[in-house]
């Protein structure tokens, strides 16, 4: 067992527990997007960051991949955490502006402007689908391709892979409700006709303006 302090409260958890699990067991709310209790923690969305205090210094760490240690001091909702988290939500929203889940997150955390250029990608690359496919279905039909901003979820040859069991799990687990995988034939057995998809108003005559979006949001011409 290890003993740590979260938001001023001492708690004891079994060795190997993550800080996120420890906090949740105490009823503390930490938002997550790329975490699922049934899958290996991945640490990609960075939404679950908490402040780890070490004497006078402190650092931000993703709680879903942070193992609980003896004597750790964690603050889950400091100003520093809130500020960074808001920027992350703002960035996420600019990549998936139509996601109901992200819009809800934004309103819960008081993010009411997107100052960055909107680049709707329909996927936040959280890797839940990839991990679900591999770890729960032992299939591995989908994976990440590319690096940096060209990274996306795809299949080996852009076609339904032989390993796919048509379970629909990748669709089901997707937090932004739009599978990024563009392989045509995958659509058939898989798409459940997502209930959450509600496109926001965008320009009817999109000129692909090169501007950042600014305080008042995306301009509609």
């Amino acid at each position: 067992m290890v003993e740590l302090t979260i938001d001023g409260v001492r708690t004891t958890v079994p060795r190997g527990t993550t800080v996120l699990e420890a906090a949740r067991s105490m009823g503390i709310v930490i938002p997550t997007l790329c975490y699922d209790p049934g899958l290996t923690p991945y640490g990609a969305c960075r939404l679950c960051i908490v402040e780890v205090v070490k004497g006078k210094r402190s650092s931000l760490e993703a709680s879903c991949t942070l193992p609980a240690f003896d004597g750790q001091v964690i603050v889950t909702n400091s100003e520093r955490v809130k500020k960074a988290r808001k920027i992350i939500i703002e960035l996420l929203l600019s990549t998936c502006p139509t996601s109901k889940k992200l819009q809800d997150l934004a309103s819960n955390f008081g993010v009411n402007e997107v100052r960055f250029k909107i680049k709707d990608k329909g996927c936040i690359l959280c890797g839940l689908c990839v991990r679900y496919c591999k770890e729960q279905m032992q299939s591995g039909g989908i994976g990440f391709v590319g690096r940096g901003t060209s990274r996306r979820v795809g299949t080996a040859f852009g076609d339904t892979p032989d390993e796919c069991r048509n379970c629909g799990g990748c669709e089901w687990i997707c937090p932004v409700c739009e599978r990024a995988c563009t392989a045509d034939s995958l659509m058939n057995g898989l798409c459940g006709g997502c209930q959450n998809y509600a496109p926001v108003e965008t320009c009817t005559v999109c000129i692909g303006c090169s501007e950042s979006v600014g305080a008042r949001g995306h301009k509609v011409y």
């Binding site: 640490g43 990609a44 960051i49 991949t65 960035l91 996420l92 690359l125 690096r147 990274r151 950042s212």
Partner: protein, 585 residues
């Protein structure tokens, strides 16, 4: 017996070294001329390649620079056969270039033949290994390295002794431990690791064997960048020769310690230099980082305790063993010991590889070793630490260079890239350039780095393009701190440095771009116009001839004009005008 030594590292080859070498071998008759033709690695003075050194019996040595196959004939006839030195081809900067350096790691680079283990042995090579195997316990080796104060040269500056110790003490069920040499060197413009592997591979191998002995490892890897064929070749030859002499393999030098090294060629991604990504890549997986709460010294390559060090770090090890921790720690500053190799590039007269003691000032590096800024321009800033380092302004030029001081001013030691910039450099443009590189090199796993850097680039592109808005600087800062604080690995953790440091030191330049739509350095194309000063123009027409758009018209001997509607702002007219008549505003 005389010796002709030709520099055949990548820099020498690029400057025609092979042709020079071939020409010598064609003209020289080993018997008759009593001359041996040899090759060596990089001597550091890359601005004078191809370099040829002539060593005569009396130990008189002459260094010729910018040798071409055509010049070889005269060197053979006048110098080698006639005994007359050709003064005008001697490298005159040598004294100035070397005076402030302290070449201990690079000592043999550019002197010995990397393909001949005999050269390395003759210069005292593998003595440290002998000493370690015959008289030191592994713990003593670690203690010696720890006492020397050596810190990792790969960027983080982690104390090497401490890393070795934690790897040695980490539990491993079957006792397997790995040591790895990081030769990924993804920083554009940095090539110290390449030069070491090309010019003196045995020093790196010897360091690795000693480290493996101290840590208790029997298998090592060198992860080399794909683009380094010559380094791979020289390293491969060196490993073969070491094996043949019983310096690698089973029961090294008759002891009961066995160890061998394999070469692994990386895919050439910058992120694969990061320790956890490197190990993933070595295992054949996608090279992307994982959280490091459990250190690689405990669970690294294939889940086993793994010790990763940079090329230059390994090359320091034999020196410490041979000459002692006390000697090593007498060089440098309080918390940064020894020397550091920098690749000095950009707007500087003497570009090349320099090895300096820690604590030397930027001024000494730039003005004394580097010979100052070309064409009488003014020094503006220096960027250290590779693409994610920060820019240090002119007013901090007396800063002593060591790990901690560089971090204090918002930059870092990194792997030792040093890019010098003059007054004609736009800091917004520079920040944009580095962020673009990092955006492309981000592995794309985590949100702040992948999306945050991309949006940062959007904002910088807008500012440089005259579309900047009030509040953009603050937004860049806010975004920069968030990326730095929340990214998964050190790429994202350091990537905002170029932006934050330029905003910190050159805020007025950002403001000029945003508020006045003006690029003070005259670089950002969308904010500048080229015009011809009627007074200065004598109508020679050179500019018109060079303009790719044919935007310049005018009668002979009369002032020319540029048509602004078709000008693409390439600046060729300005570069070609002999009378400085083309003005940028």
């Amino acid at each position: 017996m005389k010796e002709v030594v030709v520099g055949l590292a990548s820099c020498g080859i690029a400057a025609g070294g092979i042709q020079v070498y071939n020409k010598f071998s064609e003209l020289l008759d080993a018997e008759k001329d009593e001359t041996a033709l040899k090759q060596t690695g990089c001597y550091g003075m890359c601005f004078r390649e191809a370099l040829v050194e002539i060593i005569e019996d009396s130990k008189r040595r002459t260094l010729y620079g910018q040798v071409t196959p055509e010049r070889v004939e005269r060197i053979v006839n006048e110098h080698l056969r006639g005994g007359k030195v050709i003064e005008e081809w001697i490298v005159k900067e040598e004294g100035q270039f070397l005076a402030k350096q302290k070449r201990i790691v690079l000592h043999n680079c550019g002197k010995i033949d990397p393909l001949d283990i005999g050269d390395y042995l003759a210069s005292g090579g593998y003595q440290a290994l002998k000493k370690v195997l015959s008289e030191m316990a592994p713990e003593q080796v670690i203690a010696e390295v720890a006492r020397s104060g050596l810190r990792g040269r790969g960027g983080g500056g982690f104390p090497t002794g401490r890393k070795w110790e934690s790897c040695r003490n980490a539990p491993s069920r079957n006792g397997t431990r790995y040591v790895i040499c990081n030769a990924d060197e993804g920083d554009p413009g940095a090539y110290m690791d390449r030069s070491l592997l090309e010019g003196n591979p045995h020093s790196v191998i010897e360091g690795m064997i000693i480290g493996a002995y101290a840590i208790g490892s029997s298998q090592g890897y060198v992860y080399v960048r794909h683009e380094y064929p010559l380094a791979v070749k020289n390293l491969g030859v060196a490993l073969e020769q070491a094996r043949a002499r019983g310096l690698l393999g089973k029961n090294i030098l008759g002891s009961n310690f066995s160890f061998d090294v394999k070469i692994s060629r990386g895919g050439g991604a910058f992120i694969c230099g990061e320790s956890t990504a490197l190990m993933a890549s070595l295992e054949g997986k996608i090279g992307e980082p994982r959280p490091k709460h459990i250190h690689t010294t405990e669970k690294g390559f294939h889940g086993k305790p793994t010790n990763l060090n940079n090329v230059e770090t390994w090359a320091n090890v034999p020196l410490i063993i041979n000459r002692g921790a006390a000697w090593f720690s007498s060089i440098g500053t309080e918390r940064s010991k020894g020397t550091k190799i920098f690749s000095l590039v950009g707007k500087i007269n003497n570009t090349g590889l320099v090895e300096v003691p820690m604590g030397i000032t930027l001024r000494e590096i730039i003005y004394e070793i580097g010979g100052g800024i070309p064409s009488g321009k003014k020094f503006k800033a220096v960027q250290t630490g590779g693409p994610s380092g920060g820019c240090i302004p002119e007013r901090l030029i007396d800063l002593p260079v060591d790990f901690d001081r560089l971090t204090e001013v918002g930059s870092m030691m990194g792997s030792g890239g040093m890019i010098v910039m003059d007054e004609a450099t736009c800091m917004v443009d520079i920040a944009k350039y580095f962020v673009k590189f990092l955006t492309e090199e981000s592995c794309g796993k985590c949100v702040p780095c992948r999306e945050g850097l991309d949006r940062m680039l959007d904002i910088l592109t807008d500012i440089a393009g005259g579309r900047g808005r009030e509040g953009d600087i603050e937004l860049l800062e806010e975004l920069g701190y968030a990326i730095r604080d929340t990214s998964l690995c050190a790429l994202g953790g350091s990537a905002p440095n170029p932006v934050l440091s330029t905003i910190n030191y050159f805020r007025d330049e950002y403001e000029a771009h945003i508020n006045e739509r003006r690029c003070p350095a005259g670089v950002c194309k969308e904010l500048i116009t080229f015009t011809i000063d009627k007074e200065k123009c004598n109508g020679c027409g050179l500019c018109a001839k060079n303009c790719p758009q044919q935007s310049i018209t005018g009668k002979k001997k009369e002032a020319h004009v540029i048509d602004q509607t078709t000008c693409i702002k390439c600046g060729l007219c300005r570069d070609n005008c002999k009378f400085d008549a083309v003005v940028v505003s």
